[in-house]
Symmetry: C2
Subunit: 217 residues, 2 copies
């Protein structure tokens, strides 16, 4: 029996995690679903439904235990385990992702960076040496790799994804501006930055139209 | 009368644009909604409905004119006009975004970079000098700014957003890992990278469970 959880729910889970962390930092011990609902602009029943997808959480009359719910959602997101990420593409974006601690603090570690430019070989990013693409198979055989990050031009992305799938990768974080075709047991999370700025532009145009209508222009 | 177009539709528009560009590069002059539908894994009726939100496009029996539809969707996305973007935050991610031509080729130009670190003042990124935050108001008064890009830590993001809103910004591309509160006439497009990698992790866990169920494990 296959029961896929909607991507809309999947999208909200890291957001719950983020808000619960915020409440913890504020020193809050309990939160009612009404409070969480107002804070996050999601209905209280939506919160309950979302959590029920993952077994539900003992919310009694006096609300959720903030720390416990944060921990449980962390487990749902797999943050109780470490993830080793390799970056394919040692350009500016690859470098930026390898240089931040924004991911390691959630247990996602960049463990290697590969680039097809031989000249970059050995360049250090945040204590990680850039390796050439020739070294990928050998590295993959000898090290645990949980996710691959593609920060390469769109025209090479499918070919590299195919190679990674053959090696056994099950998760790809894709920054290349193209949709990848992968087998059913591989998941892809896209970050299409050019799409994103176009959506911002489209939303800006639409909002401006609405404002003009409301002002009777 | 306010009629908001769903964010699901908004999200698909850059994707149509991308696929039509791909078809153009392949030398294709016409495309049926069935072909486009298969290529994009969206139903043909969905495509028609999506386009109808923006006035619809003369699709006759023999399909869409690829080049014309690409151009029309480009206009809907506002790509026929130039956009000037200022980056707030000259760290690795800000540098990466300022260094790529992935946005300028769609008419989004990074025109200035600001950082609160005085020591970075004058550092060049792709011919753009980093300015200090003190210079922001003066710059904003003297130059056209269409969008602001926030590549700063979450704890400063709201304060900087408030300052930008006061200056008159109507569009924020937010890479800070926090949801911003802005007035109704300002649009925000979030790129929450930590959320994104957590979604990848959650999807990987869910997919693995499904595969195990299907294999009777």
């Amino acid at each position: 029996m296959r029961k896929d959880i909607s991507q809309v729910v999947i999208k909200r889970m890291p957001r719950y995690y983020r808000y619960l962390r915020y409440l913890m930092d504020e020193g809050k011990e309990r939160v009612s679903s009404a409070e969480l609902s107002e804070l996050m602009s999601v209905t209280a029943s939506q919160i309950r439904q979302d959590l029920n997808n993952f077994g539900g959480f003992g919310q009694q009359g006096y609300g959720y235990n903030v720390k416990k719910l944060h921990e449980e959602i962390g487990k749902i997101l797999g943050l109780d385990k470490t993830h080793n990420l390799i970056i394919i593409g040692g350009g500016n974006l690859g470098k930026a992702l390898a240089s931040t601690d924004a991911f390691s603090k959630h247990n996602f570690y960049i463990t290697a960076v590969f680039d097809n430019n031989e000249k970059l070989k050995g360049t250090m990013i945040n204590d990680i040496p850039i390796r050439t693409m020739d070294e990928l198979d050998d590295y993959y055989a000898k090290n645990r790799v949980d996710m691959a990050v593609l920060t390469i031009p769109a025209e090479h992305a499918q070919e590299v994804a195919d190679r990674l799938v053959k090696l056994g990768i099950k998760a790809i974080w894709n920054f290349a501006q193209v949709d990848l075709e992968v087998p059913d047991d591989v998941v892809v999370q896209n970050v299409h930055l050019a799409d994103s700025v176009m959506r911002l532009s489209l939303n800006m145009i639409q909002r401006e139209k609405q404002v003009n209508i409301e002002n009777g222009k």
